[in-house]
Structures are given as structure tokens and as C-alpha cells.
Symmetry: C2
Subunit: 330 residues, 2 copies
């Protein structure tokens, strides 16, 4: 059977698993556009990310992995703004119709969409090199979105989860790192427990919403702690001091990389989709309480200072200026 | 100079020409997400379209043409919903950085963005095969969006402008038509006056807003009158009768194609981005008045009937059932 784009949308995407109804969405998939009605006193937060085959995911990745990753990294942007996921649109270009591929892709999307109560409401499907454009829409009470620009001198810098895991996973999966070409796994450790950290990022949405009103600035760590923290610093007009000894690593990552390479993976590896939060001293305890409530590791790694860029206090106590070497997308 | 994605965004996209401020946009380009605050009693209408090189535009097209076309076809979806353009996001993947290309692309976007007061508020830029994903956001007073599903028996079917022009332009530009392979230009006519009709569609936004509350159903003609009208018919549960003799053609299109091929181009050619409106008899005059106000040709081409699909009353008076052969995107 020859499928038209309309058949595919009807059979695989406009399904109750994926384009389910949800308050705030007046009209979903199937017309020229979707209609959203944000509740009173709520702002709408929107973010669009594109994932290209061979650039943002390995070209031989499984369709459900691509889908989970694509929606996950977009939802991570909503978490950075402390927004509650509302719905998403999808622009999918695929080289050819493969019913099985589409079904698995839709299943992957549905898993994440259901988890975050964030239905598909529209988009576009056509022929072309494999790319996934997703725009997520979230709600946040007026004035409560967390921006990059609110960091103050003396604020603590906190990060969720562990860092560098996705870089280890990529190496373990056999893909070349964009980092130091010397970055390689120690032979005797098994990186497999970290594969899901790359395949299926966990956007820290619940925690971010739980911290509304407590955080001065936030960003999600997509390009490495250094690159992403630098966005906060530039937007806020300050610098930062980070302590190497405090940086949170998983035991698997620690087993897989030398100490020096682990630091590289954390600072510049990217793809972790954890949150970097900047919090004033008097509210820090409450942010840690929120993390505990959601059973999410949270670590203080540094402080906002009136310096240029980022300084790292190394394990031996020396202070070094570090230059961002986060992933540049060209 | 090696440009990073952040340099390009800062220098070419986050400019006052393109990401200008506008009421309803609380936060534009530069954070993890943009923030939109729809005015009270307005709904937000969103539509995402992807244009892939070699599929939706010729791979050798000029960057400003690609940009104008990409934003134009998206705004046409807002016109179909009678929504007022608010802002847009852009997901651009390009194979390599070319400063000159980006500047021209940004200029093309800016021309359309300024015309419709619809600034760029965010998005994503990265390496990959040339594709442009654009999501447009529009405002419409609660309950006044025009859907596909409201057509009633006895309603008139109206179309704006002239049809088939873009198909003629594509042939004139030397690109193969997806239509009947016999579709070819008559040798002695010059299709050049129609090239802009393909390159730079004119979304019928002002007219659509002027007709709010007067129209039972609407769609923009992107895949050909037959295919797009069929979406309305399926959504509304009726059929339609079209009169060939009433179909509006430009003099250039009439000079360039035989009568038979002209009908093909109109019914199945697509890319015209005119509006197809379904209007009850008692409101028809007011819709024609609105068209006159905006100096927009408007033509009655048929009527909604309780029949299956679309019947065409040919020039010789015979009635034929026509099958949709609109562009299928695979």
C-alpha cells in the first residue's frame, strides 16, 4: 500500500496515544493550525529544536531512541524556564515511508508525551533527509519563568544529577567525540549503564517547577557545563568560580575515564540535559529540599563572582582560568 | 573568521531588523525559550511547516527567495485560520557557514517579518542538509478561528486571486512538474511574470482577518484546489460541485497553458497559497465587500452539496467526478 502523508498522520501520529486531549489545547492535530488557550495569568513558553541525523544522533540509531531523545531535549528547555509542558508540534522529514520505522518513532514520542502530559498538536511531515524539528509549548505563571540573566554576585551554582555521562556513553557506543581527541575510555570499564543517559535524557521538569520563585537564573546543560554556565554569566554580567572536587560524577563515568578526561567530559561534553541553577544563599536550603522531594541529586559546584569568565579551583588547590570548549554546532 | 552558531545568531538573526519587539512577546531570542503572553480573550494559533531543499524549493534557489517563501507559506496557514501574525521561531540547518548566504536569508525573512509585524523570537541553528522549519504563532479572538469543519450544504465556495500560477512558474523555471507529465508550456508565451507567485507567496492575512465571523470554513491552497477543498469536505462531511468556467486564471497562465492543462494546474498544481473559503449565502456579499476593500480578486467557483467528493461541471456542461491528485509529499 502506498501511503500518503495524510495516511501516515492519521494512522500513526493523530492517535489517542500521541495527540490526546489536554486542558489548554483548544484544537489539536488536523486543521491548518492548532489552537492554544493559556489559562488566565499564565504565559506561554516556546522552544524549537532541530535534530539532524548524523549530527544530533547517530544515523543508525533506533527510531524510538531518536524520538525519545528529540522530545526529551526539547522538554529540557522548558525545565530550564520552570515551565510546565503543555503540548508540542513536530516537523518530520524522512527519506522514505517505512511503516515499521514510523510506528516505533511514534511509540517513542508517545512514551515521553504521556509521561509529561504533553500531546502532539500539529506539524508537518514530508520527504527529505531525516530531521526532526520539535517545538515544545509550556505554561508558567506570569513573571515566574527562570531566565539566564538573574545571577547575582555571591549566588551558589548548583547542578542536578551527574555530569559527563552522555560523553562517556557516546564513546562507549563507538562514536567519535568532538572533544579532545585523546578522550578515550579506560579499557577495563563498561560504559553500557550510561547509554540510556544519552538515548533518553530526563528533563528535570518536576524539580524545576518545584523550585519556582527560588532560582535566580537557570539553563539546561546541553553543550557542557562550561559553555552553558557561560551563557548565564554573559547574560548576567558576572563570572564564576568552580571547584573541581565538588563536580558530581557517576561511579560508571569515574570508572570509565581518567580524572583529567572526566573533567573534560563534564565541562565540555554536553548532552547531559541536567540543570544548572544559580541560587541566592538564603534560598539554597529550600532548593535542596525540593531536590530531595523529587529524589534528585543536587550539588553545589561553585559561586558567582565579579571576575571574568570561569575560574576552576583544581584538585591541587591551584586556580586556573578555563576557556569554554563546549560543542560548537559547526 | 570561524563563526560559531552563537556568533551567527547574534550577528544575523538576533538583529533589530528581524527580532524586533512587539506587543504580546514578553521575551524574544536569546534564552532557553521565548515567552508569549496572549492578550486577554485571545487564543494562540500555531502552525509548523518544514521546507527541505530539493523538495519544497529548488536546491539552487536564492537564499532570500527561500526565506520569503518559507515564512510566507507558514503565514498562509495563519490566514486560513483568520489569525493575526504574532511571532515566529526558526529551525535552520545548513551544510556550512556562508556569511553572505546567511545575510541574504536573514534579509528575506526580515522583509516578510516586517510586513506582517511578526518578529523572530527564537529557534535553533545547526549543521545539516539545508532545511527550514518555521513555526508561526498568531492571535485570534476566542472562538473566531476559521476551521475546516464548518461547511454547510448550500454554502458558496470562494477562492481568492488566481489559481495555477505557481505551477506555470515552476514549469517556466525549468523544474519538472509532479503533475501529468504532459503538462508543458505552450512555446510562444512568457511565464516570467508568474515567477514571483512561486517565489514569494502572498499570504491573505489582512483579508482573512477582515472576514472574521463571516466564513464557515477555510483552508489555504497549498496542494491544489481539489486536494485542499477535499480536506474541508472530509472535515465537514459533505461534497461539492465546482464549475470549470468560473475558475479564476491569470492572463499569463491562460497564455502559457492549453485549456486542459490549465485546469490540471489549478486543481492539482498547488503552491498558490490563495484561500479557499466556504460562506453561507446570506453572508456572501459581505465577504465580497471585504475582498474589495483589500483589492483582492475573489471568485465564486462552486457550492457545497450532499454528494460524494467533488464533481466538476465542465465547459461543455457535462458533469464529471474528479479525483484528487494533489501533491502527495512522498
Amino acid at each position: 500500500m502506498a501511503y500518503s502523508e495524510f495516511d501516515i498522520i492519521k494512522n500513526f501520529l493523530a492517535t489517542s496515544d500521541l495527540s490526546f486531549s489536554r486542558g489548554g489545547v483548544e484544537l489539536g492535530i488536523g486543521d491548518d493550525a492548532a489552537i492554544i488557550k493559556p489559562p488566565l495569568d499564565q504565559n506561554l513558553v516556546v522552544s524549537l529544536d532541530v535534530l539532524a541525523s548524523g549530527v544530533h544522533f547517530p544515523s543508525d540509531a533506533e527510531p524510538d531512541v531518536i524520538a525519545r531523545r528529540a522530545l526529551g531535549v526539547n522538554l529540557s528547555d522548558l525545565a530550564a524556564m520552570a515551565a510546565d509542558p503543555l503540548c508540542f508540534t513536530l516537523g518530520l522529514t524522512i527519506p522514505e515511508i517505512n511503516e515499521n520505522w514510523i510506528q516505533q518513532f511514534a511509540d517513542g514520542l508517545s512514551t515521553v508525551a504521556r509521561k509529561f502530559n504533553c500531546p502532539l498538536v500539529g506539524g508537518d511531515l514530508s520527504s527529505g533527509p531525516l530531521q526532526i524539528a520539535i517545538q515544545v509549548h509550556g505554561l508558567v505563571p506570569e513573571g515566574q519563568a527562570t531566565l539566564r540573566s538573574g545571577a547575582q554576585i555571591g549566588d551558589s551554582i548548583l547542578v542536578t544529577g551527574t555530569l559527563g555521562d552522555a560523553a562517556v556513553a557516546l564513546l562507549g557506543l563507538g562514536y567519535q567525540s568532538h572533544l579532545d581527541s585523546n578522550l578515550e575510555l579506560l579499557g577495563w570499564a563498561d560504559p553500557q549503564p550510561l547509554f540510556e543517559r544519552y538515548f533518553s535524557p530526563s528533563p528535570r521538569v518536576e524539580f524545576a517547577i518545584g523550585c519556582r520563585g527560588l532560582v535566580n537564573a537557570a539553563i539546561d546543560i546541553s553543550d557542557g557545563l562550561l559553555s552553558d554556565l557561560s551563557h548565564i554569566l554573559r547574560a548576567s554580567g558576572f563570572g564564576a568560580e568552580i571547584e573541581e572536587v565538588t563536580l558530581p560524577f557517576s561511579t560508571t563515568a569515574q570508572a570509565c575515564l581518567s580524572e583529567k578526561m572526566l573533567l573534560q567530559a563534564c565541562l565540555n561534553g554536553g548532552d547531559d540535559y541536567e540543570l544548572c541553577l544559580v541560587v541566592s544563599q538564603d534560598l539554597k536550603d529550600r532548593v535542596f529540599q525540593a531536590a530531595k522531594k523529587f529524589d534528585l541529586p543536587l550539588t553545589e559546584v561553585g559561586i558567582i563572582k565579579d571576575v571574568d569568565g570561569v575560574r576552576l579551583k583544581a584538585r591541587d588547590g591551584t586556580m586556573v582560568a578555563v576557556k569554554s570548549d563546549g560543542y560548537i554546532h559547526f
